[in-house]
């Protein structure tokens, strides 16, 4: 993924595509607001117009002078790991109501930990150590939140 942004053609496509997307959002806002009353309509319409105007400006600037719209290079790194992380986090969140806080977080802690790249390979010992710290951290937060802060954390619903 890191090479993409240096390529002017890709950059142009990215800028134009995002510009179009925001213009679309602006249009959506304007149209969807028509059902509201006067007072509630004016602000979304204003925002929609603003978005469309800015998007048009963006597209025009991109076509005219592409140096004005840089896209920052990513600081390298593996796109695949990022995806794995996002998926893991989604799974964590989705299973939270079923597994509850204690089980869910202890489990996901070690899974996320294993997704992190590290120079040393994973041994049984390091996995166990991480799993243990995950469990202890989870319990610690659970205790602090439930008893000290009176925040009830999700409880498992499948048991």
């Amino acid at each position: 993924m890191s090479e993409l942004v240096d390529n002017p053609a890709t950059r142009r496509i990215m800028n134009l595509a995002s510009g179009a997307a925001f213009a679309g959002l602006g249009l959506f806002l304007i149209i969807a607001s028509q059902q509201f009353e006067d007072a509630g309509r004016s602000t979304p319409v204003f925002i929609g117009c603003g978005l469309m105007a800015l998007a048009v400006l963006l597209i025009v600037t991109e076509i005219a002078k592409s140096e004005f719209l840089p896209i920052p290079e990513s600081d390298g790194g593996s796109g695949r790991r990022r995806l794995v992380f996002v998926v893991l986090m989604a799974v964590w969140i989705l299973t939270l109501p079923y597994l509850g806080f204690l089980f869910g977080c202890s489990l996901m802690f070690i899974l996320v930990a294993m997704a992190v790249p590290r120079s040393k390979p994973w041994t049984i010992r390091s996995i166990a150590l991480h799993a243990l710290s995950g469990i202890i951290t989870t319990i610690g937060f659970w205790f602090a939140l439930t008893y000290l802060l009176s925040v009830p954390l999700p409880v498992p619903s499948i048991f």
Binding site: N15, F22, T43, P44, S74, M89, A113, V116, H130, T138
Partner: protein, 503 residues
């Protein structure tokens, strides 16, 4: 002076112990992303019931002060704001930490917070009644211009990428439209989803928009999270004092900005630190590196947000109007404790006020050694922690932070979705911070505009409402200056350089 007599009462061992406890609790809660000062005070409210009114107030006050400072810990070390007031601390604090200056950033944050905190309290002590009148100058029109001014700050935060910054800001504005419209009663853009009925909640949104991209990037590389500092165990105290002294104008200006904005009802530390940061970066000299790790950014942000703690109490105590969102909790606490609030406080309960101020001053001064000590240990812990522990830990904290304030699972989902969105638009070159700004300021701008319009129409003098007051005109000039001044100044300096070359 009777102040000393009552304030002296605050030096009793019990009160001192409770104040220090409140400070530490506040710092810890504030450091956890998502646990805002308002939440921390609300959660500690029942604890304060077992204390007498004055002590209870001091306790809550120190939790407030501590949590405002504590937010800088997460902001600097993990790049995620611990409280909304420390959003701007991430802009420079985190880059500083990444290059090994985390200890310096933390010490600077500590000293700035203490300075700002004391400044705000002293203004409260000496200037409360006259300054309270200032709070009353803000009606809907003035809030509208204030919010607009806040939005123009987006321009100064998106150097070199103005259009995309503004697009992000407008995206934030669009998101702020979700939910019930205060001004018309319409339910907008919720599509019958109960999670969105209350609109996009600001704290989960902040965590998602600002913290998740950081977490996503953390996992991508093997390289260590923060560069290890050269001198492992020092707090770099002397260096931070020197850095602050070199920027004393910034320190003073940010204290004033924070104090003034704290007085404006409902404005709060987030807006104060934002304006202070913007002003500091606007006043920056050419070799300053705002946005890339300039100590001035941390100074501006932390001084301003702690100043609002003291000054926010001015309208709270004198007028019974909360100066900041957290002051609403403190007002509530006073009612529950049976302290008669409102204008009579300064006449009938001056002893409570003075003892309270005495306690707050003492605690804020103590925040310096406590903060530096805590800072040093936490810093070393985070620096040494391998990413394989850090990443899941941070992820866990993000989840808890999104959930805790309203016990809402939906908020976690919102946090996640916005986080992925922020990361995605970031890849296309759109900054995430302006989205938060739009989300925060959108409702203020909309309500101010619509209310002013309604009043103007009723009085048949719309122009008078919007442009009639001094405050409005001052704010409008600030807006104009903030839009046109930076390019103008740049033009002048390029002309100067050209002139110098010709000589």
């Amino acid at each position: 002076m009777e102040f000393l007599a009552y304030a002296g009462a605050a030096t009793s061992p019990t009160i001192l112990a409770i104040a220090v406890a409140g400070l530490i609790i506040g710092i810890v809660l504030g450091a956890l992303p998502g646990l805002s000062s308002t939440f921390s005070c609300a959660v500690m409210l029942p604890v304060s019931f077992s204390m007498d009114p004055t002590t209870g107030l001091i306790f809550l006050g120190t939790v407030y002060m501590g949590s405002t400072y504590g937010g800088s810990f997460a902001a600097i070390l993990v790049g995620t704001p611990g409280t909304p007031q420390s959003i701007t601390t991430t802009f420079d604090g985190f880059p500083m930490a990444k290059r090994g200056d985390g200890g310096l950033a933390l010490s600077i944050a500590c000293i700035s917070s203490v300075f700002g905190g004391i400044f705000g309290i002293i203004v409260f002590l000496w200037l409360a009644p006259p300054m309270a009148k200032f709070a009353l100058l803000f009606g809907p029109a003035e809030y509208f211009w204030l919010a607009l001014f806040g939005l123009t700050i987006i321009a100064s935060l998106s150097e070199g990428n103005l259009i995309k910054g503004l697009v992000s800001g407008f995206l934030g504005l669009a998101l702020s439209q979700i939910g019930v419209s205060v001004v018309s009663g319409d339910m907008r853009f919720t599509y019958e989803n109960t999670a969105l009925i209350g609109g996009i909640p600001i704290i989960p949104a902040t965590i998602g928009l600002l913290c998740m991209p950081v977490a996503i990037d953390l996992i991508a590389n093997v390289t260590h999270h923060l560069e290890a500092p050269m001198h492992a165990r020092s707090t770099r105290f002397k260096e931070s004092v020197a850095a602050i002294w070199a920027r004393k104008l910034n320190l003073l200006r940010s204290s004033v900005i924070g104090t003034v904005i704290g007085i404006i009802p409902a404005a709060g530390g987030a807006i104060a630190s934002l304006v202070a940061y913007a002003e500091a970066s606007r006043a920056a000299k050419p070799d300053d590196r705002y946005g890339e790790g300039d100590p001035g950014g941390v100074i501006a942000s932390e001084t301003a947000n702690n100043a609002t703690v003291g000054s926010g109490l001015i309208p709270t105590f004198v007028l019974g109007i909360p100066g900041t969102p957290t002051d609403a909790v403190i007002l509530g606490a006073m009612m529950v404790h049976g302290v008669q609030i409102g204008p009579r406080m300064f006449s009938e309960h001056i002893d409570i006020v003075y003892t309270f101020v005495g306690g707050m001053l003492l605690a804020t001064v103590l925040m310096l050694p406590i903060g530096l000590l805590l800072g040093r240990y936490i810093y070393m812990a985070v620096v040494k922690m391998p990413k394989t522990y850090l990443v899941p830990m941070v992820t866990l904290m993000l989840l808890i932070g999104a959930f805790a304030i309203q016990n809402s699972y939906d908020d976690i989902v919102i946090m996640f979705c916005l986080g992925v969105l922020a990361w995605a638009i970031g890849r296309f070159g759109y900054p995430a911070a302006p989205v938060v700004l739009g989300l925060l300021l959108g409702p203020i701008a909309e309500q101010g505009y619509a209310q002013a319009l309604m009043i103007g129409r009723a009085k048949q003098d719309v122009g008078g409402i919007f442009f009639g007051s001094t405050v409005s005109m001052v704010l409008i000039s600030c807006i104009v200056a903030s839009i046109f001044l930076p390019p103008l100044l740049r033009k002048i300096s390029t002309l100067q350089t050209k002139g110098m070359r010709n000589v």
